[in-house]
């Protein structure tokens, strides 16, 4: 039998390389108008008065009064208005759309709308807790009674911007009674369900279509629901096609970002071992809660990292502040926690005068161990072999010994991590309830009908390849179009490293049935998500199996720090991953490079901060993502470890590859400068502070 992992050329290469692939900005419709957003200029307060200019013919203003349904965006926690009515809770909060045929006139109109505010003192400190979680494992805090020593450290992580190269955008247009949106999105049904609620329409009267997506990384998970709703409200009223495309500056200052975090860790030490951990995580939601509770959960669940600790006391808070709302970003809470925990365990080992690598290896999760919530790591854990491979490829042992000698400013660091695949907890079973369809037509063509989008991660290729392998037919006879909610069932959002494992798993089940019935001329197979019966999770008390499967990773990063400027020069990176089974090896290697690049950027380069609620980085010029000059050679090795419910054994891969980058580079810098690192990004300024502070 052919090995499915053997790479094929991606099916959308030609259209993307030639520039003929249509992204949302590339669409033009007859009589199309443009929309621009009028935003608040204060961080907190109330609108007292709005003075509108005389609108020329053919120009419109759309605000909260036009929202015929519920003026709130449907996401997990519903606290985000489509348009604010009065209350302003962050800078640049959307107040209205200004719509018309000429963008220059729209700009003038935006400037001439005068808004008077009653300003209040905005809150930027983390004091307004809106979510408070706590759980214990084993003896919880009581384990500290048995400790002969306690070690405590605090870790900080900053904002991170998804920085997809294609800014956010939609075109909305009427189709009879229907309001249709086409846009750059990860989750067609999130947008559809949000729009239904906002415009108060029946299911059949809202249609959402995905255009080619120019990168997303979580940034097009929930945010598009907001602008999609605004545009749908406008289309329903004006009944003309309207295009809303963000410019980069607008995109960067108003869209959701990775939550900044603070994690306080305490270790109970006995006989030079960690016998228990206490952790408290704080994250900044910004002005709306949205997905923040789920982000916090994912962070808390990963509290002991790739290690097993029998006694845990875990808590966390989501704080609301008068800043831009934060949201989904590849990793979803895990990058914050894996940075904190992997640094902490290393720091504890150093303080106990133990070899950090040996100390960590002894604590590694093994098959059959209990998770932080007393679930089970059921499947084989290959971390010891993976670490060995990474060590061998990178010559880690020799290098760490050489580089630990003072004054050479060279360093090497290793991170160990995992990612829980799919939605946290009972999300798949209770909330998403994914459905997929596979259709065979008279010409023996097979259509994949799912709502999972290709946003660059290669689903168009890997889904078609999966089905062609299972049915043993040519990939050309397997058809997959960009999802259109009029034609595809709700297979859930394209998030949480669930696409191949969950949606692909359902497609594989459908294909199995289709194969049996292949002689039938024309038919559809539908499959619905069924939770593996061993999975049980109590979301309220954090008890049980939070994820059906885990993907694992090891990153080793080598750096050189300039002794004068403290600039960090990446030399090389080595990665070893267990993502079950690659459906296409080259696709996975591409994910591995890109994920690590984002993780490394998060760790040392990507500075984003706000001053009085205003994001200080406006564009790619001052929000620095890695260029080809910044990055280094990256060698990646994949270990097969098939998961019973994934197609051909595939688990999640997209998010996994981002998680280890920050702790690996932070440790490499630590090794190079001989000082412990407690926050990311590790900028030259921070390195200077560490070196000068003894």
């Amino acid at each position: 039998m052919k090995d499915i992992s053997k790479s094929i050329n991606k099916v959308d290469n030609d259209e993307k390389i030639s520039g003929s692939a249509k992204y949302i900005a590339d669409f033009v419709m007859d009589g199309m108008l443009y929309a621009m957003t009028k935003r608040s200029t204060i961080s907190k307060g109330e609108i007292v008065k709005i003075d509108y200019p005389q609108l020329p013919d053919g120009y419109y203003i759309i605000n909260h009064k036009d929202v015929q349904g519920k003026n709130v965006i449907k996401v997990i926690f519903e606290d985000w208005p489509v348009f604010t009515d009065k209350k302003i809770s962050y800078l640049y909060e959307p107040i209205m759309l200004v719509i018309g045929p000429d963008k220059n006139i729209l700009t003038q109109l935006l400037d001439s709308i005068q808004i008077t505010y009653k300003e209040e003192t905005p809150l930027f400190d983390w004091t307004d807790s809106v979510i408070d979680y706590h759980f214990d494992k084993g003896k919880g805090n009581r384990i500290f009674d048995q400790a002969d020593k306690v070690i405590e450290h605090t870790y900080h992580t900053g904002y991170q911007e998804q920085a997809y190269i294609e800014p956010q955008g939609f075109i909305g247009y009427p189709e009879g009674d229907k309001t249709t949106l086409i846009g750059s999105i990860q989750c067609p049904y999130y947008v559809k369900n949000a729009v239904k609620q906002a415009i108060g329409e029946k299911d059949e009267n809202v249609r959402v279509i995905q255009s080619t997506v120019g990168g997303a990384f979580g940034g097009k998970e929930e945010y598009p629901s907001l602008i999609g709703c605004q545009l749908a409200v406008a289309v329903k009223k004006i009944k003309k096609p309207i295009k809303l495309i963000f410019e980069r500056e607008e995109d960067m200052s108003v869209t959701t970002k990775r939550h900044p975090s603070k994690t306080v860790f305490k270790a109970a030490i006995k006989d030079r071992k960690i016998i228990g951990l206490k952790a408290h995580v704080s994250i900044d939601a910004g002005a709306t809660i949205g997905l923040s509770g789920v982000v916090l959960s994912r962070a808390l669940l990963a509290v002991s990292g790739a290690y097993t600790v029998d006694h845990l006391d875990v808590s966390g808070n989501v704080f609301r502040t008068n800043t831009v709302p934060n949201g989904a970003f590849r990793g979803f809470g895990a990058p914050q926690m894996f940075f904190a925990v992997d640094m902490f365990v290393e720091h504890v080992a150093k303080e106990l005068n133990q070899d950090p690598l040996e100390f960590r290896k002894k604590m590694l999760v093994k098959q059959g161990d209990r998770t932080s919530t007393n679930g089970l790591f059921r499947d084989p854990v290959l971390m010891p072999e993976m670490i060995e491979k990474a060590i061998k490829e990178s010559n880690y042992l020799k290098k760490i010994e050489d580089y630990s000698k003072k004054g050479n400013y060279k360093g090497i660091g290793m991170s160990l991590f995992y990612h829980g695949c799919g939605f946290t907890g009972s999300g798949e079973k209770d909330v998403i309830k994914a459905k997929v369809k596979l259709k065979k037509d008279k010409n023996k063509k097979v259509y994949i009908l799912v709502a999972a989008v290709d946003m660059g991660q290669g689903v168009k290729t890997t889904f078609r390849k999966l089905i062609s392998h299972m049915l043993d037919i040519d990939i050309k006879d397997v058809i997959y179009h960009n999802p259109d909610t009029d034609f595809v069932p709700d297979s859930g959002p394209t998030v949480a490293s669930r696409t191949m494992m969950i949606v692909g798993g359902l497609l594989a089940r459908a294909a199995k049935e289709m194969k049996k019935r292949w002689n039938e001329e024309e038919f559809i197979v539908m499959k619905e998500y069924e939770q593996p019966d061993y999975i049980e999770y109590d979301e309220k008390h954090f008890i049980g199996d939070a994820y059906p499967a885990y993907s694992w990773g090891v990153n080793i990063v080598e750096v050189e720090v300039d002794p004068v400027t403290y600039q960090v020069d990446l030399k090389k990176a080595w990665s070893v991953y267990d993502a079950g089974k690659a459906i296409d090896e080259r696709v996975v290697l591409g994910q591995a490079d890109g994920g690590l690049a984002q993780g490394l950027g998060y760790g040392y380069l990507e500075v984003m901060n706000h001053k009085n609620g205003k994001i200080m980085q406006k564009n790619m010029t001052d929000y620095i993502i890695p260029t080809a000059m910044d990055l280094c050679d990256m060698d990646t090795f994949l270990f097969d470890n098939p998961y019973a419910y994934g197609p051909y054994g595939a688990k999640g891969v997209g998010e996994l590859t981002l998680i280890g980058g920050a702790p690996a580079i932070a440790k490499a810098i630590e090794n190079a400068i001989g000082k412990n690192v407690f926050k990311i990004p590790v900028t030259p300024e921070y390195i200077m502070e560490l070196i000068n502070h003894d």
Binding site: K10, S18, G19, G590, D593, G594, I625, T627
Partner: protein, 157 residues
């Protein structure tokens, strides 16, 4: 309004328009060539890259007045050349394409680089691509693609 003459993808064009308009807008709006993309609008990301007299420029940062009498080639025009096909195959083979938004710009950057330096080393490739941002690939496989193109297309540049 000013009369601006230039060559676009091999055809002579005369436009009567505002000379301050961005070349990118003219290409996309007046000629419906949507291969060049707007990623940042300030010459940082390279998604809008085109060839100006054979050299890469960010079309979002070029006022139309500057191209009077010059030769412009976009990805659409470049895609009919032999060099394009070598570069295309190399990108496909290496796995250098993910979301695709930066890709036309990367192809233009590759052409611009190879036409100046047909056998670049890794460092020269990195410099050649450093004006084009990609958020998906980490550049590793794009660099591999450029190396492959340089080798497979030996003699073309």
């Amino acid at each position: 309004m000013t009369e601006i003459k230039f060559t676009l993808n091999g055809k002579k064009q005369i436009l009567n328009t505002d000379p301050n308009r961005r070349l990118l807008d003219v290409i996309r709006e007046d000629f419906q060539l949507t291969g060049p993309k707007e990623g940042c609008g300030e010459g940082e990301c390279g998604a809008c890259a085109v060839l100006l007299n054979g050299q890469i420029v960010n079309s979002c940062s070029v006022p139309l007045a500057n191209v009077d009498g010059q030769d412009i080639v976009t990805i659409e025009g470049f895609s009919s050349t032999k060099q394009y096909h070598v570069i295309k195959e190399a990108f496909a083979k290496a796995g250098g394409v993910q979301c695709g938004f930066c890709t036309p710009g990367m192809i233009i950057a590759t052409q611009s680089l190879l036409s100046e330096n047909p056998h670049p080393d890794d460092y020269e490739i990195k410099i050649g691509l450093s004006g084009n941002l990609c958020r998906c690939t980490g550049y590793n496989l794009i660099i591999k693609a450029v190396k492959t193109a340089s080798k497979d297309g030996d003699g073309l540049w």
